[in-house]
């Protein structure tokens, strides 16, 4: 929507296709904030410190040119949001309120904890998403709401010239032509059984790209958020720990002091999540089954909780039956974010790599947000960086498309057979007669991913998972669509989503097995340390031959010195 | 289509304010009349009371207030229920007839009221 806004503002005819009404997208669930060095909490704050934290957080496979761009342009992008009306919380000086988040430091890790995450209470994502939608209303962007994009249309030159989309209300299927197609379809957390993600996070953009034969990058990197409410999967923000909450095991011990003596509960998310799993595995978990730990908040007092974390109080009471004012909240690491995605440059242009390993732009295709892998998050995303990522690179895509449209874009129209090719999956589904039930298959897929590709991974066990997936593929491709009706047929959409989930899951599995090291969110028992010699690189998954290749990480920021890989301690 | 053409003041604020002001007048008037009734007046007392100009003016004001209050209130009721949305194009006809009848009744009462109060 940020890209659409940019283009509408400049007077270009822009349409947004969304499978849900735009304010129902998953960004709405982001709680804590948007991390950016706007120098409100600390007047001396520097975007370079933010850049350092992000590079370190990424375990050094974040592209430094992209991180540099994000962190340096970030303040401008955030101020624009404020000018659009985003209701940020405020400091006494009237500036935007910033709170501490995990992995944040001052002075390149030397100056202690920083507070850099700009917040609108604990509803920043909601406020941001509504503000962006409102901005688009103001500039009269055209919305195709509750239209579901099924596949990309490639012309004979391999350029992307539009999409096939279904109007959910009427079942009508159309070919939407465009000079620039921006995928902003978000993540695919629903490949896991336990996830903080919305039902709609089914990796539709990744599915489309893989089916079109384009590669995805670092797709094995899945962030498990330390604090999902046990049982429900619902997220409680890192801001809880930023505001002073901490994790305890069954003995009441603040165990993060052992794992990360300096940053403690505000270490990187991968570090905290692993520590929690260790506590649980070593028998110090809480509850009758010892399968979770507690997030302690009551010491912050009712006033702080109700003013800074009102949404958390509400969620905890509803889903954990625990009132944070009085008792700790049961939490467990839960699948949260897909660091990998469609490789892009800083303009949002989707990339492939040629035989010599050089980047080649896919004409007409752009990606931004969670579906993209610019890559600013590398192997582990820092809290609050996802909102910044989507705003900065949505904006950058819009700016770049604007420029290229002004210069003139000439692409050949898709031929009938190109369109037919893109339609084939839908046609097959509509013609299905037998086959298995979609929700059963989805459950099986999610359980396989949860068990074989979770917080800790293991070679042979992953291979077993890959075998299970291989067997699932044909069953999923032949899944049954019993209800063939046209009007608001969500069964059809769910079947199509399942295809996408599977594509993401398979890419994740194969790439995870191939990356023979532990880095960031990817932790292997059989290769338990970082291997900079062989794996200080992006993984690239090529769908046509299910091959995993490598792509160089960018270590050449334009205005600052390169941050060299170091051991990552918090 | 339901429009504001037949509303009292063509303005929501005006109508809303009128509704409140007339309500206050009506309340005051009925309290006044109520107090008189409780004191158990005979014909002579009634007659004396209404021979005073201010009582006639007050009564007239209450009567006009009743008219305005009823118009605003019934306008809202009619534009809620007798509409094209609820009953097709017949809704418009029924609503206008209802408003016309209401108008005639209000007007009749007002004229009659003047007649009674000033004994024309």
């Amino acid at each position: 929507m940020r890209a659409a806004l940019q283009l509408s503002q400049s007077g270009f005819k822009t349409a947004v296709i969304s499978k849900v009404f735009p304010t129902r997208s998953h960004t709405v669930s982001a709680q804590g904030g948007i991390t950016c060095a706007i120098a409100s909490a600390d007047p001396n704050d520097d975007w370079r410190w933010h850049m350092y934290d992000t590079v370190k957080g990424s375990d050094y496979i974040g592209d430094q040119d992209a991180i540099e761009y994000m962190c340096s342009v970030g303040p401008e992008a955030v101020f624009e949001l404020e000018h659009m009306g985003l209701p940020f919380s405020r400091t006494e000086e009237g500036r935007i309120y910033q709170r501490p988040f995990g992995g944040q430091s001052k002075n390149y890790g030397e100056g202690g904890q920083a507070a850099r995450t700009c917040a609108a209470a604990d509803r920043t994502g909601h406020a941001l998403l509504h503000t962006l939608y409102q901005g688009n209303l103001k500039h009269e962007t055209v919305f195709f709401n509750e239209w579901y994009a099924t596949d990309l249309i490639k012309n004979q030159d391999g350029a992307v010239v539009g999409v096939i989309a279904i109007c959910m209300e009427t079942g009508e299927t159309v070919h939407i032509k465009s000079k620039a197609t921006v995928l902003a379809t978000g993540g695919a957390g629903r490949i896991y059984a336990s996830t903080t993600n919305a039902h709609i996070n089914t990796g539709d953009g990744i599915g489309m790209v893989l089916r079109a034969g384009f590669p995805v990058q670092d797709i094995e990197m899945w962030q498990f958020h330390p604090t999902g409410i046990a049982g429900a999967g619902v997220l409680v923000t890192e801001g809880c720990r930023g505001e002073g909450g901490y994790l305890i095991n069954k003995d009441g011990e603040r165990f993060m002091e052992r794992y990360a003596p300096n940053a403690k509960d505000l270490a990187g998310r991968d570090v905290v999540a692993r520590s929690m799993v260790m506590e649980i595995l070593e028998g110090r978990g809480c509850g009758p089954n010892g399968d979770h730990v507690f997030l302690k908040l009551d010491h912050l007092g009712e006033e702080v909780l109700e003013s800074r974390l009102p949404g958390i109080c509400e969620l905890s009471r509803t889903f954990a039956h625990a009132d944070p004012v009085k008792e700790p909240v049961p939490v467990v690491p839960t699948c949260h974010y897909m660091m990998g995605g469609i490789p892009t440059n800083v303009h949002g242009q989707a990339l492939i790599v040629d035989q010599n390993g050089a980047d080649v732009v896919i004409p007409g295709l752009y990606a931004c947000g969670e579906v993209a892998c610019v890559s600013v998050h590398g192997a582990n995303r820092l809290g609050g960086n996802s909102l910044l990522d989507l705003v900065v690179f949505g904006r950058a895509s819009g700016l770049f498309i604007e420029k290229s449209l002004r210069e003139g874009v000439e692409m050949r129209d898709a031929s009938e057979s190109d369109v037919e090719h893109a339609m084939s999956r839908l046609d097959k589904l509509n013609a299905s007669t037998g086959g298995e039930n979609v929700s059963e298959l989805r459950k099986e897929l999610q359980n396989t991913m949860q068990n074989h590709f979770g917080v800790f991974r293991d070679g042979p066990f992953m291979q077993e998972g890959i075998n299970k997936l291989a067997e699932l593929r044909s069953r999923i491709e032949n899944a049954q669509l019993a209800d063939k009706s046209m009007a608001f047929n969500t069964a059809r959409i769910e079947a199509l989503e399942l295809h996408n989930l599977f594509e993401v899951a398979e890419a994740t599995a194969i790439t995870a097995e191939a990356r023979k090291e532990s880095r960031g969110a990817h932790a292997r028992n059989d290769f338990d340390s970082r291997d900079d010699e062989n794996w200080l690189c992006h993984s690239m998954y090529f769908p046509t031959d299910k091959r995993v290749g490598k792509r160089k990480v960018n270590f050449e920021p334009k205005t600052v010195d390169t941050f060299q890989p170091k051991a990552r301690v918090y | 289509m339901v429009t504001a053409v037949t509303s009292l003041g063509r303005s929501g604020l005006y109508d809303w304010l009128m509704q409140r002001v007339t309500a206050v007048i009506l309340l005051a008037y009925f309290l006044f009349i109520g107090a008189v009734v409780i004191s158990g007046p005979g014909y002579a007392e009634w007659s004396a009371l209404f021979s005073q100009t201010w009582v006639r003016v007050f009564s007239m004001l209450a009567l006009l207030s009743l008219g305005a209050h009823a118009w605003v209130g019934l306008w809202a009721v009619f534009t809620d229920y007798f509409t094209e949305r609820m009953m097709g194009s017949a809704g418009n006809v029924i609503r206008l007839v209802a408003q016309f009848v209401t108008g005639i009744i209000m007007f009749t009462y007002t004229v009659w009221g003047i007649q009674i109060l000033w004994g024309l």
Binding site: F21, V28, S29, H83, Q134, V234, S439, A487 | G12
Partner: protein, 234 residues
Amino acid sequence: MLQVSIYRYNPETDAEPYMQDVQVDTGGKDLMVLDVMEMIKAQDTTVVYRRSCREGVCGSDGVNMNGVNGLACVTALSKVVKNNKLVLRPLPGLPVIRDLVVDMSLFYAQYEKVQPYLQNDTPAPAIERLQSPEEREKLDGLYECILCACCSTSCPSFWWNPDRFIGPAGLLQSYRFLADSRDTATEARLAKLDDPFSVFRCHGIQNCVNVCPKGLNPTRAIGHIRNMLLTRAT
């Protein structure tokens, strides 16, 4: 076994909507209503409803449960079920597309009518526009709206005039911008609200307040708008 009665209508096959009875085994757990709906859909894929975040922030799954509007994902069975029976209907007052899915165009049109975006005709500063915590506090209870339509579809005035009365959700957003110290279009906004329908169809019934899943109070916001109109006129 929980007895669920669910509103069914498929425009392609049904001449009339009907209620279908389904039994659901909740295993004695106090599930959310959405969980029950998911269980029903797993058995019968033709049952249609909207859902997304399943944590009460996206506003997709507003439905009418045992006569009361709310979000299925944050409504526990224990809160609505009486005598082991749950009746699920679409939000009232809007055209039904299919089953529990209603056509929300009228609702969104009213939202758009209030120009729900910040308008400020002064040049933007290089940093953010300053706003004191006190000024910002005025937006609390307003900006949190998730556009689920539970309020507007529980409002009789909106049922009767959804094309003319902005409704509680739209008016709450209208006031969200009227109350924002950074917005400079107050006069133009108020001028558009003065007709007898937009604001003044609110009769203070307060159904909106009772059903809002986010605990917001549109009636109070409407009162503030009325006061602003009054101040402006006098």
